[in-house]
């Protein structure tokens, strides 16, 4: 039998956290912004089919950075959790808080018990009737959960991007303004001043989906022409 070296719990956790952080920082950033019209989710993503942003339930969306297979399995688990809950109780009883705490428990369990921690960071967003009722939760690889106000920036060089978004954020933004702000943030760590539309993945949680589109499902993915049209609008 081989002798196991002693590693202190502090060192073990630090190693795992460093490992996860490195994986997350390798990718590109995702920005989630709460604004007057609802919540805008913007990701830098070259693939049109491997999404970083997804619909979970009527008013709830999901955004992630890190390893695709890991956050995709979490997204699917979230959809299953929400659908089972909504089917067994009622659609109203599915909340972002409940989902976020399930995610926090899963991430926490993986972080301590599995061979390696998940190299992901998640955002769970819920749009409310009014902007004060919006919820943004940030979940990190170790299962920490944070209730954020206004916006979330994750992945890549999150500090730089976050600085740029914080400078321009205000509650009165409409979707076009919020997406412009997110773009300004996403290019903050680059040489260029603009990103091609094909390199973007944009979705919104529409605050007025019932009155505007006649559906309780607030999530709407914007296709490239929609994004171009929205950004071309008068400022």
């Amino acid at each position: 039998m081989t002798q196991q070296f002693y590693v202190s719990p502090e060192q073990l956790m630090k190693d795992r956290a460093d490992f996860a952080r490195k994986g997350i920082a390798r990718g590109r950033s995702v920005v989630v912004i709460s604004c007057r019209d609802g919540i805008a989710l913007v990701a830098e993503n070259a693939s049109p089919s491997l999404h970083k942003i997804g619909e979970i339930y009527d008013k709830i969306a999901f955004a992630a950075v890190g390893k695709y297979n890991e956050f995709e399995s979490l997204r699917q688990a979230g959809v299953r959790y929400a659908d089972v809950r909504g089917y067994s109780y009622d659609r109203e009883d599915v909340t972002a808080r409940g989902l976020a705490s399930v995610y926090a428990q899963s991430l926490g369990a993986v972080f301590t018990a599995e061979q390696k921690p998940f190299e992901v960071e998640l955002a769970v967003a819920e749009v409310g009737q009014a902007q004060e009722a919006d919820h943004l939760y940030r979940l990190t690889f170790d299962g920490s959960i944070a209730d954020e106000h206004g916006f979330i920036v994750m992945g890549g060089q999150a500090d730089k991007v976050s600085e740029a978004v914080a400078a321009g954020w205000q509650g009165e933004l409409d979707f076009a303004g919020a997406i412009r702000l997110a773009l300004a943030g996403l290019v903050a760590d680059k040489e260029t001043t603009t990103l091609p539309v094909s390199a973007l993945e944009v979705a919104v949680l529409d605050r007025a989906s019932e009155s505007g589109r006649g559906t309780r499902r607030a999530f709407r993915r914007l296709e490239d022409p929609d994004i171009v049209a929205l950004l071309a609008e008068e400022k």
Partner: protein, 280 residues
Amino acid sequence: MQETTANRVAANATSSFTEHLQRERPDLMPFGQVPFNQLPAGGHASQPGAPLQAPHGTTIVAMTYAGGVLMAGDRRATMGNVIASRHIEKVFPADQYSVLGIAGTAGIALDITRLFQVELEHYEKIEGTLLSLDGKANRLGAMVRGNLPMAMQGLAVVPLFAGFDRPAGFGRLFSYDVTGGRYEEQEHHAVGSGSMFARGALKKLWRPGLSEQDAVAVAVEALYDAADDDSATGGPDPVRQLWPVVYIVNRTGAFRIPDRDLAAVAGRVIESRTVAQREA
């Protein structure tokens, strides 16, 4: 097959909400909870052999028209000779491009409808794309078959499914039998206790290429005829302002016809029958 992690992951990867529910929460399924051989013989404890008394939904009609398909249902549920509900709704949007109507045991039918709606939305969210219309029709057939043991006990559910086939560019209709058999219908179809009379009316009233307004009028009149001869089907009720539930599905989606329009259409049917002064 070797029990490896990869195999386990693959086996658990399902886009079907029903499969997931069967695996994780079988207690929530609307059917299949009691093994077939353990079901009690038909009837109530106090009166063995008598059929179990539960509300039944009745007549649903569906037809194609120039821009898509239409489905309409009356508002009555009956329990034996008693009217269990005057307000029940039996036609529902299944997703953005399809609707379903249900006849049979109302309690089970409403749960199957809810399960079917979640099934379609779940697939859309997991896969990121809509299920094909044939795929949806097959899933509904599987659910009806799942209910077969209950149907043998007299608690049958018979749906009618209609949707717009986006790749093909036209509306399609599907009917089912209690064993889950799926049949594509042409032109028009009806299910439920008043379906015989409704179908007779549809044969005379329906014609190819109906406009949307004409199709709504034909559906309301077919239900009127069904209510005329079938006691379990409710006609338009001007006293309580109750009108049939009518949905249309076209290229842009499924929409419910507002009560205001239905009141006008039903008013015209009643008026024309009054003017004609005929017995039947």
